[in-house]
């Protein structure tokens, strides 16, 4: 049994590197994802994740760093979302949706100029967790440190924004500045994570573990810790499944995270239903008790 659980990681250095990269991604996504879930920014996060596609495709075509391309793509997407939301009279999900598909289509078109079109686009969308290097780990550790630093420094405005934007503004924190800081933190997370789980799947790591934490926790720090735990467990189980059953590694990690959320959500619903039944039972008993007292 021990061989089944630990053997793949003991025997294969690439799998150990993959696990370390996935754990770093899980922790980064837990911190940024907590605020994504609290503020309801899942669609914006998704758009940012797809916004990096043309940047990465261009970088691949030019033979420069994919991370650099992803960073440029994320900045363009953030700027575009901000401008379209402010300047045009349409709901933010419409403007973000248009930019999202526009950037994705642009990325696919740029990538179609590449000689290995299908291979490159698959790597961009689904990641290459089994191909991470020591240098990638270093960059991911740097991104984790930066994301934690932003979340710690901006914890007060981020919390106020999660409750009410008016409350944040009237407490002396600029809504636009700290909303952009939050988007920047999410963009950095996407850029740091896309090599491991891909731009399509990174949103799963941003949302599923943090949403699981939010089901149980009553403090933001507890949500982050729970999300980190869920992300790390998902990384381990996902890689193990991928190794033994020959499945796509990035997709396995994200699917495990979503399954953990589903199981936890069912547990919470069952508990709520049981409490509701208890309340109904209690309410039915009360008149009976009164009747006995009066008799």
């Amino acid at each position: 049994m021990g061989d089944f659980l630990l053997g793949p990681f003991n025997d294969n250095e690439f799998l150990r590197l993959s696990l370390m990269a996935s754990v770093l991604v899980a922790c980064t996504c837990a911190v940024a994802g907590t605020f994504v879930v609290l503020r309801g920014l899942a669609f914006v996060g998704d758009a940012l994740a797809h916004g990096v596609v043309p940047g990465v495709a261009t970088a691949t075509l030019l033979g420069v760093s994919g991370v650099l391309g992803a960073g440029v793509g994320a900045v363009v997407m953030m700027f575009g979302v901000g401008v379209v939301s402010r300047r045009y009279r349409m709901s933010s999900d419409t403007s973000i949706g248009l930019l999202f598909v526009g950037m994705l289509a642009l990325g696919v078109i740029i990538n179609s100029r590449s000689r290995s079109f299908s291979g490159d686009i698959t790597t961009i969308l689904f990641g290459e967790v089994l191909g991470v290097s020591g240098a990638d780990l270093l960059w991911q550790f740097g991104a984790l440190t930066a994301v934690c630093a932003i979340a710690w420094v901006c914890r007060r405005p981020f919390l106020l924004l999660s409750v009410d934007e008016g409350l944040a503004q009237t407490s002396g924190f600029s809504v636009r500045r700290y909303h952009n800081m939050m988007l920047g933190m999410v963009a950095l997370t996407v850029v740091a994570s896309f090599q491991t789980v891909g731009t399509l799947l990174v949103i799963g790591m941003l949302i599923a573990p943090a949403a699981t934490g939010a089901l149980f926790a009553s403090r933001v720090s507890t949500v982050m810790l729970t999300a980190s735990g869920v992300g790390i467990v998902s990384s381990y189980i996902g890689l193990l499944l991928s190794y033994h059953a020959d499945l796509a590694a990035g997709a396995s990690i994200v699917l495990v995270a979503v399954l953990i959320f589903t199981l936890c959500a069912i547990v919470v619903e069952v508990r709520r239903w049981q409490n509701h039944r208890k309340d109904i039972h209690h309410d039915h008993e009360q008149p009976h008790i009164h009747a006995q007292v009066h008799l």
Binding site: L38, R39, G40, V153, C154, R156, P157, L159, L160, S162, V163, D164, E165, G166, L167, Q169, T170, S171, G172, F173, G213, A214, A217, S218, R219, V220, T222, V223
Partner: protein
């Protein structure tokens, strides 16, 4: 004694569309002004302008001698139905403690003084009874008491309250009235938007709104039968 809020020929609204214009009032320390009107009458718009969330379209308004929104530690605003109350994984104590953020800024540490203020306002509002519980697990009335405690924790000189009695039963409404009375006795100026005519009791100024100022003055004057009929289409039972 200088006035805490002065509005002169003030027009408020969204974009370039004014909702109310010609607003004039002066509020001294300890004064209570109650804004009454139907949905869309401009109560929240006027409050948001006083809070600095909207820019005055014309005229002038000064809060504590400065532009609205520039003195966050001295002016507190309670929004109408804070948006995420139903889903946020936050404890009541943590939500109330957010009221001190305006004093602490981005990085200054929370002090023992902040903690004692938070404990005190939780006792005064009754939020101490459920301080360790998650906000999302509370009833609407308990959530409203929590948000009110957060506003009081600011220890501001001006309170701008958007429907603080919404969702509260008669005891809850009386408790809010008592809290406002306590704040006024220490010189705090209060501006409150409400649908409840009963909340106007004891106010220095009542402003009856229907996308314009229908009536303004003492409760007896502003809530006259003629003004109420003009604003709501009905009068109070006598």
């Amino acid at each position: 004694m200088s006035a805490n809020i002065v509005a002169s020929s003030l027009a408020v609204g969204y974009g370039h569309r004014p909702i109310i214009s010609g607003v004039e009032f002066t509020l001294e320390p300890g004064a209570l002004m109650v804004l009454i009107g139907t949905n869309g009458s401009g109560k929240s718009t006027l409050l948001k302008t006083l809070a600095g969330l909207l820019t005055a379209q014309s005229g002038s308004v000064q809060v504590l001698g400065a532009e609205p929104g520039t003195l966050p530690a001295r002016v507190a605003y309670l929004p109408q139905h804070p948006v995420s109350s139903h889903s946020l994984p936050l404890r009541v104590h943590d939500v109330v403690a957010m009221g001190r953020f305006a004093h602490r800024g981005l990085l200054r540490r929370t002090t023992a003084h902040d903690t004692s203020i938070v404990i005190d306002v939780m006792k005064r509002t009754g939020a101490d009874e459920f301080s360790a519980r998650a906000l999302r697990d509370l009833s609407g009335g308990q959530q409203q008491r929590t948000h009110l405690a957060q506003v009081l924790a600011r220890q501001a000189e001006v309170l701008l309250l958007d429907e603080p009695t919404a969702g509260l039963d008669i005891n809850g409404r009386q408790a809010v009235a008592d809290l406002i009375s306590q704040e006024r006795s220490r010189g705090v100026t209060v501006v409150m938007a409400t649908h409840e005519l009963g909340d106007a009791e004891g106010a220095d100024i009542v402003m009856l709104l229907a996308q314009r100022v229908v009536a303004q003055g003492t409760p007896a004057h502003a809530l006259s039968d003629a003004a109420l009929r003009e604003c709501f289409g009905f009068t109070q039972p006598h």
